[in-house]
Symmetry: C2
Subunit: 308 residues, 2 copies
């Protein structure tokens, strides 16, 4: 029986593990993607104390820190959750079952899809959700990035290092990224921002993407030629597991918590991008802080008298 | 006119500066102690991604990160605050005046005093509030540490590296530090914890501390001989400035905020140890997250449409 099982191995889950080790809680981290989606970021410049790292390197710092304090991190998907009285049962994709007195859900988000024809068909054949991963394949080519927040803008800047031309398509009239990224967009001549524009269809030629069809004509037509289409329109909270044990979600599918990161189910805490806490400012640093605070709560619940 | 003046240059204030730079806010950091009181910690093992640093080194990371993004950090005490309509006026000890549209208060705490005879008299002559700073002076000697939370326990462990004997005096019956520190206390044979014990008086011999007089006899008497007395009983929020512009404090003198770290005064945010947010789990990581969130709020207030 574990004191705590942490589901999700991104920054929030790993920070929870770091704190759980400091609190001497018997715990386990289960996550399909060790390091989390921050690994997809090509540069993180705003995690205080560790400027300018790649997402992969920052994630590795968290993993190494957690492991250094003795954490067991299992790279496995959680496929089922059950609750029997005050005990939670966690089933992983390799068929193992773990029992715990408390849970921290740090499952994060999956990338939102555009939902247009051609998106599924050309996935991996020009359609991508990860500029960091795939930018080097587009050297000297033309690419389209869809979105207007941080991931889209930083992705476009990264792509401009390789591609000849980057079109940033945003449905609204004003980018909503951190101003430092917007300034980067303005400075980069290879990037052209097309406002108020939506993709109707991703078109291909044979096996590969050849361009996108738009709802409004730009540069003389509705067809924009491009070899790559990067979709960066945000995330969908991964809350399927939460529902299995009665954890409530809001209408946008985020998990609401109290100030101590507790969900509506006693013993179940929720941290990072899957939660609605600080939804308007979801950052690596807020995710890790939430992980720490949740463990303070778990410790108080199980053993009382916790303090920092 | 600055967009933002940040008062306090500890982790919370420096993180706010990092975010303010990312948001391209014209801002200034003013703080009497650049790096903040975390510099007094001999080891910080729970800031995710940077394990095992000294407090000084961790503080330096934050300072360097903030400066690297272009921050101006002025090492000066703020002595007065005024508010004229929507403009705040900040006066520093060197007589300069700065005007700003928004303020972040990150003033932290000062160390709480025991308030017993001999404490002021022998300050710097055996009485200390900083084990990290002064431990090396007590090689082969006997010391007393007062307190039962993280700072007292980690301080006692650090002192045991130098001193022959460390008495940890706590007024309650059970230490309330992070379990990892408590385990460290239990493992260290040089440390003896005396529960339910209070110091009545710090006694000296000539110029220096010679011991403490207790309210209950231990080891045969009420007088415990020691060359050093380290007082680690927590902090008092530094809220004098806040009062000058109508910022409300709670009965323990912490500044309450909403979830976005705003105080009751529009345009004034409050982060880190001086605030009541997450008071039960005040950590470096929570302080820096609060700094980030406050800047998201400042940006929204001044320019609207902020996003991570």
């Amino acid at each position: 029986m574990y004191d705590l099982v942490i589901i999700g191995a991104g920054p929030a889950g790993l920070a929870a593990s770091i704190y759980a080790s400091r609190y001497q809680l018997k715990h386990l981290v289960l996550g399909a993607e060790v390091g989390g989606t921050i690994s997809w970021a090509h540069k993180v410049d705003n995690y205080p104390g560790l400027p300018g790292l790649t997402g992969v390197d920052l994630a590795k710092r968290f993993v190494d820190h957690a492991k250094g304090l003795g954490a067991t991190i299992v790279a496995a998907q959680v496929v089922d959750l059950q609750r029997k009285g005050e005990v939670f049962s966690v089933v992983s994709s390799d068929g193992k079952r773990y029992e715990a007195k408390a849970l921290i859900l740090a499952t994060g988000t999956r990338r939102k899809e555009l939902g247009v024809p051609g998106e599924k068909e050309f996935l991996g054949k020009g359609v991508s959700y990860c500029p960091t991963c795939d930018a080097p394949f587009y050297k000297g080519k033309r690419v389209v990035v869809v979105g207007g927040a941080d991931a889209a803008c930083s992705g476009a800047i990264h792509l401009a290092k390789f591609a000849d031309k980057v079109y940033l398509l945003y449905r609204k009239g004003k980018l909503r990224a951190t101003p430092a990224w917007i300034k980067g967009i303005e400075k980069e001549k290879k990037i052209k921002v097309l406002y108020g524009t939506n993709i109707v269809k991703i078109v291909g030629e044979g096996e590969r993407v050849a361009g996108v069809e738009l709802d409004e004509p730009v540069e003389g037509g509705k067809l924009l030629a491009a070899e790559g289409v990067f979709i960066e329109i945000g995330g969908v909270p991964l809350t399927d597991l939460a529902g299995k044990i009665g954890v409530r979600v809001d209408k946008e599918n985020y998990i609401p918590t109290d100030d101590g990161m507790s969900s509506n189910v006693k013993g179940v805490y929720c941290v990072g991008d899957v939660g609605s806490h600080w939804k308007e400012c979801q950052q690596v640093v807020t995710a890790v802080a939430e992980g720490a605070v949740a463990v303070c709560g778990v410790y108080r619940l199980l053993y009382g008298n916790a303090k920092g």
